[in-house]
Amino acid sequence: MTKQIIVPFGPQHPVLPEPIHLDLVLEDERVVDAIPSIGYIHRGFEKLVEKREFTEYVYIAERTCGICSFIHGATYCQGIEQIMNIEVPERADYLRTIWSEYSRLHSHLLWLGCFADSFGFENLFMAAWRIRERILDVFEQTTGGRVIQGSCKIGGVRRDIANDKLTGMSRDLDSIQKEIEELTTVFLNDDTVRHRTRNIGVLSRDDAYHLGAVGPTARGSGVAIDLRKTGYGAYDRLNVPVITDSCGDCYSRCYVRCKELFTSIDLIQQAITEIPDGPIDVKVTGSPNGEYFMRAEQPRGELVHYLKGNGTKFLVRSRIRTPTLTNIPPLVKMLQGCELADVPVIVLSIDPCISCTER
């Protein structure tokens, strides 16, 4: 039997955007097991809920993650609205959907860049982030913030988008789509990329299901789960296709995300054509009394916000379960049996967002 050695991977590693630590048990160059440990970036958001009014906690909920911040804020608001039985105006629902899908575009483009970086394709990384910049510009023009939008509030949204601006955004998306098409061709057809991602980090359908994989990680293994199908927000009025691939390797996960970029663009276009006129918020009176599990689809998968109020202005409990947390057991499974040189690519392929995970 070969002698086993343990190689630490992270928390500081050139390929990792955020700190996660993996102890890789190696036999020669082959990874036998991986022991993950988190806890380098804990900020105590869940405790903070007891000290801030539930209306102000939106700003804190949004800062859970720097990439899908809007979806965190919107999910928290939707959860509170469900407890308090608040009917959100239709226009606000559509605006939330539009911003959520822009978040997804931004997140997936960011991920494509980081993924290209993980196998050493720096040029592609910059090409992906150049397109992402245009998405961030739209965020800044419509909400005032590039990364932290701050446009969601309980009972609706804080800012409206004028109809002519929506038409402009729609036109802009057409040209963005062309650029994304060029970009995804490289990811899906280029031989170099394919060589580094095909048959690497394979996660079978059964493993994905039993280990609780969510989002593109699960869909890349052929498990068709997409929370947008549950129809929160305005998704029940839009046509949401679920993209899956059957191979379960890094290439499949990349394929799912590349195709989801076009789904998101399509959903925004649908929402822009269907958006009704009307008010964007309702007045909120009283305090939440009760509990609710709000689930939403983040770019990385299923996000759960558990909220519990006792009739005062301060919530009793807030629990945030983020997709990366549930994707860590599948990640360990993928790493077993791979080569040491493939570890960065596999870790990046689940799109780890550690700040989310540790809240």
Partner: protein, 127 residues
């Protein structure tokens, strides 16, 4: 299977100008909604302290005796909450980002608002 898929993008990049800017030597991109920093107009502030209560990061302090309104730029998360709730619209959001600083300190604004005297008519009617 494809080779040279990147050629078109690479050529375009070579022939076009850089998309990045040299901030702070060149000004950052701004829009009319950009949240830069909070500015206070002392002549309108009625010292109601709603902004102090609504600030999620507790960056604002109001001293009614000394008539000062102070903000800690290092704590402020530029969420626009105070601007939205201000009843007299004395707070506004400037589109310019604050300059980087190496020393933490607070920015103090003086409140110059003087409460207008009560109209005399009411007293007359009471009498």
């Amino acid at each position: 299977m494809g080779f040279f898929e990147m050629t078109k993008t690479a050529l375009k990049t070579v022939l076009s100008r850089p998309v990045t800017i040299l901030y702070p030597y060149q000004p950052a991109k701004k829009t009319s909604l950009t949240r830069g920093h909070v500015v206070q107009d002392g002549s309108k502030c009625i010292s109601c302290s709603i902004c102090v209560k609504k600030c999620p990061s507790q960056a604002i302090l109001l001293n009614k005796e000394a008539k000062t309104w102070q903000i800690d730029r290092f704590r402020c998360v530029v969420c626009n909450s105070c601007v939205d709730t201000c009843p007299t619209r004395c707070l506004s959001m400037d589109t310019q980002y604050t300059a980087p600083a190496s020393v933490q300190g607070v920015e103090v604004f003086t409140i110059t608002y003087v409460k207008p005297p009560k109209p005399e008519k009411k007293e007359e009617t009471k009498e």
